[in-house]
Symmetry: C2
Subunit: 351 residues, 2 copies
Amino acid sequence: MNLKQLSQLLGLSQTTVSRALNGYPEVNAETRERVLDAVRRTGYRPNRAAQRLATGRAGSIGLVMPTAHGYPSDVHFGEFLAGLGDEAVRHDFHFVINPSHPDDEEATCKRLVASGNIDALFIAYMREKDPRVALLKSLSVPFIVHGRSIGIPTDYPYLDIDNTAAFHDATKLLIQLGHRRIALLNGPAHFAFAIRRKRGMAAALAESGLTLDETCVQHSPMTDEHGFSGMKRFLDLPEWPTAILCSSTVLALGAVRALNQAGLKIGSDVSLIAHDDVLPMLKPENFSVPLTTTRSSLRSAGSRIAKRLISRILKLEILPEQELWRAELIVRASTGPAPHRAGRANERSAG
Amino acid sequence: MNLKQLSQLLGLSQTTVSRALNGYPEVNAETRERVLDAVRRTGYRPNRAAQRLATGRAGSIGLVMPTAHGYPSDVHFGEFLAGLGDEAVRHDFHFVINPSHPDDEEATCKRLVASGNIDALFIAYMREKDPRVALLKSLSVPFIVHGRSIGIPTDYPYLDIDNTAAFHDATKLLIQLGHRRIALLNGPAHFAFAIRRKRGMAAALAESGLTLDETCVQHSPMTDEHGFSGMKRFLDLPEWPTAILCSSTVLALGAVRALNQAGLKIGSDVSLIAHDDVLPMLKPENFSVPLTTTRSSLRSAGSRIAKRLISRILKLEILPEQELWRAELIVRASTGPAPHRAGRANERSAG
DNA sequence: CATTCTTCTCAAAGCGCTTTGGAAGGAAGA
DNA sequence: TCTTCCTTCCAAAGCGCTTTGAGAAGAATG
């Protein structure tokens, strides 16, 4: 069923039917009702490709998904996508997902825009001096960045959480509890969020005259496995940390396991704070020792980005171009006063 | 840059350029090279909407993503999508993802097909007597089902793992180890895979004259939290199970925690087998007690489905229409002989 | 030399939609 | 009655591509 057939069925012209469908005023209310009724009966749906060709719009948001054989998928991607979907479904928007080799994202962005079948683009996994920002600006396509780059002017539309502040606050809490030697299980070093988190932590330490020991920092994909091995490495240091910051609850999972295995009690022997993206699969409050976290829902971020993008495309309302969300610091049982014989590993590693 | 401009630039007709680009034989090798070169220089990309309108094809696979506010996102979805992407990226295919309320998937399928901007459709999360199969057959759009429905003829293209056999085998192993009372932490009861897994388990028990106790079965979303609460419930039973089957390593995560909390040793006090979708985030071999699993890579499944779909669309090669993959049973440390004083909880719950 | 093939290229139609620029018909004002 | 103005509808152009049916030029054949 296409427009032509539908209009013949109704004995109207294509113009009138199209107008009735798209809410133009110059069509009789009764006629419109008749058209709408026919649509319901026949199940007619406008062809999106034709619609796009004619208008340049068709209700789609583009995103590139980094993927390659052997390259681990990211739990956070799915959760974020769900957030985007929550909002998109309301406006009958869909996503055009272009898979891309992680090293080829820039070119894929370009192709995706040039293909002409997206109304707006969303990009994430920002890196330092990310070239995609300048690219998209030059392409003059509406876009929003999830996160922020580093080392380039921040005059682009973004939604980010204040990673620096989050990890600053978390570190400060640990310092107040008496911890002096704090480790960091971070995401991959090339991501801007990881850089900011580390900076936030370093800043808080510096304020108390402490420095961040690089041997107490690990950059890795945020999996259980890396959390485990990273934590183990920390525990093998001559002087092990009494507190750990984790960039994800998934990392914390492995870290907790390593801690348990070493016979250390979380919240007393060792304190731990994780960043919580609010993954439904893994809740910090349900850890055997509930985790103190810096919380910010990834899903809400997705939802908000979709909302901003759609508002922009449909010209619904003017929403702020730049948003920096504050993560909530939620204290649970995994943080406690630094142990008195803090940081001297000998007694443990000997045992 | 569009075809017209490109052809003017080259001093050729649009037809010739189009033919050169699409590999038609009737164009001079030299001319073709000249065209290809111009494409590289200008970065020309055909407009997908126009291409689709003209040909009916544009290299896109449709999928509907169940999502709603408050409805948890599924870790497995992301991993599967990554698999699809691995293959799709090679043929310059993309995905059109239509978010949908979980109860509205059927209508969304219909809309997605009617919208005319997909070449093929992929559906998953199959339920009993799933109406989408008949729908897609009637719509005469190429499609593949991930999983299989139950209670309708299986004359449609699918890729599934043999869930029945997997859980049958796992159960049999436990029985051979002397376990008599076995519990199941399963996925949601309306999903076909969950039904089959339960059946496989029940069948194996029946073969040894045992029956599956419904109080030892939990159907729930596959999150850590549900694994934990489910396991706890099992341990509160007057006679608790000595072995547990989990439909996901994520469920196992919670189950293990509950077991640890109860002071039970996995592999001796209690045995545990989980189904492993090979999530990079969570490896069964890295659990504190490495998990015995039935393994089948979700990502490979995604990749294979993309391959079949694309082969079909591009008419590359004839691939089998129906595939049933066998999951591998991998024995690790989480399974061991049933304890002698099997299943009597009193001694524990008193402690 | 005329004729038939090849080989290469082109003009134009058509995919299904939106949108511009009227036109027809009736109501209202002169 | 004639003009003007709405209201309601329509014909046709155009979005950027592919593809059909043909034409021009050159090579091969009679």
